[in-house]
């Protein structure tokens, strides 16, 4: 079974390589390696650093709330990047981006923090079950 799955995977990957070969240039190659590199040198240390800061500075009762709120905020910010950072956008398209994204982002982040903080304040701390 293992070998069958692996072999199918190798064949599909090779087919992808055949398709991508005529398209490869420096730009595409950079885009391919950028993900893992940016993750390893930027995102991962950033998350780890935030985790450490939270562990050091935030009172235990609020730590989970801050981590969850921070995670959701990070996801919202990532999704907003293609909407807010547009020096490479196609020609202006009035029908495409038709709401106020900076305000929308702030509202969503505000709702997330209000929700996690209220939940934490309301739920009485129970003995921690660790799994």
């Amino acid at each position: 079974m293992r070998w069958v799955i692996g072999a199918v995977g190798v064949v599909m990957g090779l087919w992808g390589a055949v398709l991508v070969l005529p398209l490869v240039d420096v730009d595409l190659a950079l885009w391919f390696v950028a993900g893992p590199v940016v993750h390893d040198v930027l995102l991962a240390p950033l998350f780890a650093g935030v985790g450490l800061l939270v562990a050091r500075w935030v009172p235990p009762r609020w730590r989970a709330a801050v981590l969850v709120g921070g995670t959701f905020t990070g996801v919202l910010v990532l999704l907003a990047v293609p909407l807010l950072w547009r020096p490479f956008a196609g020609s202006r398209n009035p029908g495409l981006l038709d709401r106020d994204y900076p305000v929308g982002l702030l509202v969503a982040v505000g709702v997330v923090w209000a929700a996690v903080l209220v939940t934490t304040a309301v739920v009485r701390e129970r003995p921690r079950a660790d799994r």
Partner: protein, 348 residues
Amino acid sequence: MKRASSPHTATRIGLWSGVAFGLCFVTGLLSHLLQHPPGWFAWPTRPVGLYRVTQGVHVTAGVAAIPLLLAKLWTVHPKLFERPVVRSLPHALERGSIFVLLGASFFELVTGLFNAAQNYPWRFFFPPAHHAVAWIAVGSLLVHIAVKLPLMRTPAEQVRRGTLSRRGFLLTTGGAAAVAVLATAGGTVPWLRAVSVLGARSVELPVNRTAASARVSAVDDDWRLTVGARRFSRRELEALPQTTAELPIACVEGWSASARWTGVPVRDLLALAGVEPGDVRVESLERDGLYRASTLPAAHARDPSTLLALRVNGETLPLDHGYPCRLIAPSRPGVTQTKWVTRLEVVR
């Protein structure tokens, strides 16, 4: 903060991302086949919203996969920085396959997300690149599953030191995926429109390509629709028996919206012109651009609700929606719903 390996959690989150990637792969290939159909490919005309669903699933599952991928990497963090980097030939191959999996996964998610916002910080042509790398992503994912298969039965870690419990971490991951979907899916799920603050195209019936950007100016009375040897003015089209159908516009970029279209069924026009039905080439007033013409498959051309629409939601078709008339067929990608139609021609 030293963390240990956690194959149980890695499998859980891996499975979730695997499902999201699988959905993206299948729906993406369908979208490709619809736009470039080989001879053996047939696509049903019912349900009318089929493409709306498949492409909506594509973009929604893709967006959900972004937090899932990051959570997966967070789980396996200690393994990514293991030393020595390479221990043996099989180990080197495994590291290599993991690198390919990560490169291809990030490539698909990031290019897809930017493309859906019509933002292109690259020089390659998106569809073939995203398509080719999709095979690499799913191929290396299968290799990854094959390699890790023996670890999947590992029991849950006893205790995971840190702020969040194992369950808390899984819940947070699921929550992050839900937040990502809620924030963006309004472009295709109407009742989420108010909530999706990061969704593109929040209006009732969006316009992607305006007449101005297609360089189509106001159409005068000389306009005629050519079908075979027959020519119709807009007034003649209005005098023919009209059909009204509720049909969605469903864009390859994932947004979609439904509307009530009124016009003349394409099959009636072909019959009036006395041409044998078949695949129909639909040409537009647009002078250039990838989408100035499309081919309507015979099955769709035969369908009674495939219209040359003259009106939308009870009003005369606005110029930006394709005045004097546009094609609207069930279950087709938006780019093939040609606007400003001038000619219908049976090609085979």
